[in-house]
Point group: C2
Chain length 108, copies 2
């Protein structure tokens, strides 16, 4: 069953005017996707009141904000944004790909 | 807030007789942890009837089973095991570290 075996890095897509969102897998409980940033692109700080979220940086470097603290995030770093904690991407310093997971999965 | 910024690779631990489980983050909706395998260690095929799960191979190489199909999984590969789909690790071919996510988070 091919859809059980995924290669996130090859699913990366980029847009000129805004960061790109890609769906990798979506179940009844968990959503997995990519957020892909060109240099200088950002994601507004926002909060999921009823969902836990994580980002895992797969490539690149981005200045991220979680819970009011900003830090540069690099490959291999996991950013944990549990329900109620504001999070976003202030600025990608270079082309950056992040695996993102959200639970419960947003209703389509 | 230090606990929002995690480095999964440095949290890896290994046991001589069985694969090791480590918790990275656990919220009301999503659990994130590591499964770490020494060569030849395995994880019995099992099914979560009411939870979606993924593995992301961070390092190593392991023969995995999902939905009745076995394949070698290497760094950067994401294995998606939605609710009801049997999954496990037949055999680690070398020392292997996997990020694991489960939603809903198991009740402690």
């Amino acid at each position: 069953m091919r859809e059980f075996w995924l290669k996130p890095s090859v699913a990366a897509t980029f847009l000129p005017d805004h960061y790109s969102k890609t769906t990798l897998a979506s179940g009844n409980h968990l959503f997995l996707g990519l957020n892909c940033f060109e240099p200088e692109q950002s994601q507004a700080v926002h909060t999921h009141a009823e969902a836990d979220k994580f980002y895992l940086v797969l490539s690149g470097n981005a200045r991220m904000i979680v819970g009011g603290t900003a830090r540069d995030a690099t490959p291999g770093e996991l950013i944990w944004a549990p329900a109620g904690v504001p999070h976003g991407v202030e600025r990608a310093r270079e082309r950056t790909v992040m695996l993102v997971g959200i639970a419960p999965a947003p209703k389509g």
